[in-house]
Symmetry: D2
Subunit: 337 residues, 4 copies
């Protein structure tokens, strides 16, 4: 039996979204389904910006950043009216299943639709932040980490040449996944994230970092990189940089990597993850599944209830935090020789 | 109690080996161990090319390809005399534990040493081929996949511009891990590897691929990429290219990516994997472990018997093979519109 | 007065061709010209594969490798019949000016058309080989050099780790521009190209290189890279690698970089060069110019007779050759300390 | 006759400085000169941080960003006392020639030394800003442009996906070289730099850009990138972003690329330029030259008086400005179809 399946991408774009769209289209055609795309996220759903997606539409897109379906934030989806309009458009177009590639905000929209609509709803986790439960990795995360890492490798050159202190602020919303993974990879002298910072110990943390900076300076360590999560420090990372500068008497400069972290050609891991998820989404639809997210756990694809995906229980690997805090960060302990 | 710990890198070099050495040195110093390096692999062990490794020796190396300890193939280790010499050097230097970063050949050497020596022996899987059992990933694999992918993305440009057929040969020895992961990531029209090719059906395979190429050509598909594993095709990949050219009447050109796959700055995943494994190796030594390999399964570090690591039972994910063969490769099925 | 202007890309593709097409389209529309593209090079001209090029067709293409107009080799253009057919198509479509982006073969085709056709003919040098006279750089050359360089930087990692000898063969047809520029950039121990190799001294050269390799080995120099131009060595680069291996007793391995050198996102220099040339081509057409190539000399755009462009008098900078041969290559002279 | 030659790197670091140091060391040894390095720029000269530079010190550095001699800003050199101290250190170490790789500030220091010291002083232009007279390019400029371009290519992905307006601020101090070259290369919808902005027409410019943004939005142009030079806009680029947001009612977001522009592995052009300049500096010393800068004009090395180098008369190519302003930027003119 054929089905009409619609896709949309929503929330912050993430490298690999196009690979997921491609996989959905290829797998969908294999199942004789008709595949459509709503452009501009939920706005396009509400406004009925619908186009069929042929196989030729997804040729030559697997390696491109961004999303060919465009994305957008959509306030209307937070209101009942907006959701009703979305449902009407789905009904009008006789859509049987809706696949949304996005983050937790996007999934909340999907849950709202599910309450009013009989069709199948499937989520695919596409966000660089890797803050979705029920999947070890989200599409875009690996690319964002490598992009940030390449940028910091360059900053390290200057930091080393001038023996300077830099704070580098990374994206991730309320999650330290990017920050910790990049921090360990770039051999940061200090990683500051939600997982190891307690706002009640702000002063203590400041004093600890100041001491570390001064110790490193005295040891003529060539440079000092602090990798910090956005949204972490009270009053912002710039305030922290200024505070550290005044406390240590050493110039501490902030670099905010910003939007380069969202773009770029996806790395292999994101293309593969996106491809597997896209294929699995179509398979799940063929099996009549609904109200689920396609995830990957322990290298195997899994389907989890959509409600679980947005619970925000995901944590950074304690081994990684422990290694960074207790072994890697303190690189200036005395040599045993 | 302090220990004398020696490291060596052996076999083909892999991006991330330096990150592993760094982690071992940092963690070792944390445990008050003395860390040494044998240079030039097992040759250096036999010839006693030993140097202490201070923390300053591993600053600024996490992002570098190759191995600061140098590597080499070593025939002597296949003889009893060679192993005895190695053991003598370990005894003479009062080494308590030996960590070898390498592939299965390197681990066989380590097993031979273990038979004659009381010290602790620890393996860390470092090879781009990802053909070691007991670990989901080996150090260097992720970087090699991304390096090959970037190269093929460029070849795709030319293939598209000229609507040409290219065969791209990838490394991996007897394993299809690199080939399948790269093949899916680059949207190859065909992946040819140990997992989906039966030498008894050579003729059948040739005819199938020829038909696919001609079908694609008639459909004016812009290009056709065949990704093939080294050591797969009888008489070599060049012979296959010539055969396909003569069978189809269409020029099929071979590109052998070669040694660029072994080098380059490691991606974040390899730096993190290497860091975790290096730290865990020291922890395992502190717990008196021996004759084990540090692996990673389901995103968690594990210790497995060294003998299991070299069994060659590892397989490419069936989901990936199935998706490539049955959904992604046949991109020229008729559109449903 | 409006004009109908057609573009085609021909010969080997080169990164930056899309940037040139974009500039022609934007500048052409600015002059109120109608811009068309013939697809698939001269084949498309002969077969009348013509499409209008709107501004929206060239959005989002400046950073893409390959050519959106496709390219192809075209045997028919070497015959009078082919040229006549091409001219007929130009007349039939009332084309006033034809811009060809390509190398010397492509320009010879353009010269043949010019003999039979009253319209304006303009060449833009697009080839990675940089073997066109009358312009310091051709579109694609800078990107190809950087692509080859990145690949060799990775090969250097492995060469250093194993203290190995590698020969790396580079593209360039009969020109050493790529070879010398890459050779100097990657700190090659030896550069072998048309400019510094005399086939009559084959034996002498072999002995000289063998001695250099052995000297380097004795001095424990970590690696030895020979960068060699394709089409240079009698019987091919593989034969040279084998000969050096047997003469030195040291394994000399060949890496052929191949088609990766043609693709990839163009570097800034190629995008800017292509943009300037595209804009200037339209300006030249508006001024009634014909039978010329747009070149760049001493950082300024110039127009030169098309016949001069294909004379093959271009040489590699003697300073570069001299520096490489007499100062940089002999890196194993004794230190003055 | 042998000479003692000292090198230092000063001012902002630039990719390719290591390649220049390598060339100086190799060429110097060829001439039987003794080569030394002062570490940490002029500070190291004043404090006598001198080390000999052997050939082995510059192996494996050509591809590394930063500077192995370290750099630093140095206030003391602005005072007579500082300069006298520097001269004393040069005399004490019997230095015959001093080569400084840096920007205009560094050259002013060199000029001050020249007034009090009989030795030969040679400048090599190393700064990403390309704001030195007498040379078409400075070491580091080409790499910085490509680094910024790669970053903006990624930002474009997000901008396209969300159809957003981004301002991207680039380095360059008081020069628009980076800004214009990057702006043209990334197909910026608007380039704002010293060369095309008049502070007296601030309001006019604001209104013009606002109109362009709104026109593009209405035309459903996918994204709008404004590339802006640092130090250009009164009260800073953030203020401009806010103003445009309030004037257009469309969110205009600022991305400051920052320090990633200074680091990274140098591109081929910078490695070659640095190599040629380093070799030429030694040749100039052998010829008894002093008080000069080694530059490159029209692809040929030249020597110019050091005083000319710091005159700040360099301008961005008018062709580039004109093309950007009048042809490329206005990509929303009506199609001729």
């Amino acid at each position: 039996m054929t089905k009409n399946i619609a896709i949309l991408t929503s929330g912050g774009d993430a490298p690999g979204m196009n690979a997921a769209i491609r996989a959905i289209v290829l797998a969908g055609h294999r199942y004789q389904y008709k595949i459509f795309g709503f452009y501009h996220g939920y706005n396009g759903l509400i406004n009925n910006e619908l186009k069929p997606l042929a196989i030729s539409d997804v040729e030559g897109v697997i390696h491109r950043g961004g999303t060919l379906l465009k994305s957008a934030r959509c306030k209307e989806m937070r209101s009942k009216t907006g959701v009703s309009q979305a449902v009407n458009v789905l009904l009008k177009n006789k859509i049987d299943a809706l696949i949304v590639i996005g983050g937790d905000g996007s999934f909340n929209g999907l849950l709202a639709i599910h309450e009013q609509w009989q069709g199948q709803v499937i989520g695919i986790p596409g966000t660089i932040d890797n803050d979705i439960d029920g999947t070890d990795f989200t599409i875009g995360f690996s690319t964002a980490v490598d992009t940030a890492l390449s940028a910091i490798d360059k900053i390290r050159d200057t930091a080393d040449a001038f023996e300077r202190v830099f704070l580098v602020e990374l994206m991730g919303r309320q999650s330290g996944q990017i920050t910790f993974n990049v921090g360990v990879s770039c051999a940061a002298e200090k990683v500051l994230s939600f997982e190891n910072f307690n706002i009640q110990q702000e002063q203590e943390t400041l004093e600890q970092i100041s001491t570390q900076i001064q110790t490193a300076k005295q040891a003529k360590h060539s440079s000092f990189l602090i990798v910090i999560a956005e949204n972490l420090w009270p009053n912002g990372s710039e305030a922290l940089a200024k505070k550290l500068t005044s406390m240590t008497g050493i110039d501490c400069t902030l670099c905010t990597l910003g939007y380069i972290q969202r773009g770029g050609s996806p790395v292999a891991k994101d293309r593969i993850l996106a491809t597997k998820m896209g294929v699995s989404a179509i398979q799940a639809i063929s099996q009549g599944k609904s109200n689920i997210m396609v995830g990957e756990q322990n290298n195997a694809i899994c389907l989890i209830p959509l409600t679980q995906a947005v619970e925000h229980n995901k944590t950074v690997s304690p081994l990684l935090i422990d290694a960074q805090e207790n072994i890697l960060a303190l690189s200036k302990q005395t040599d045993a020789y």
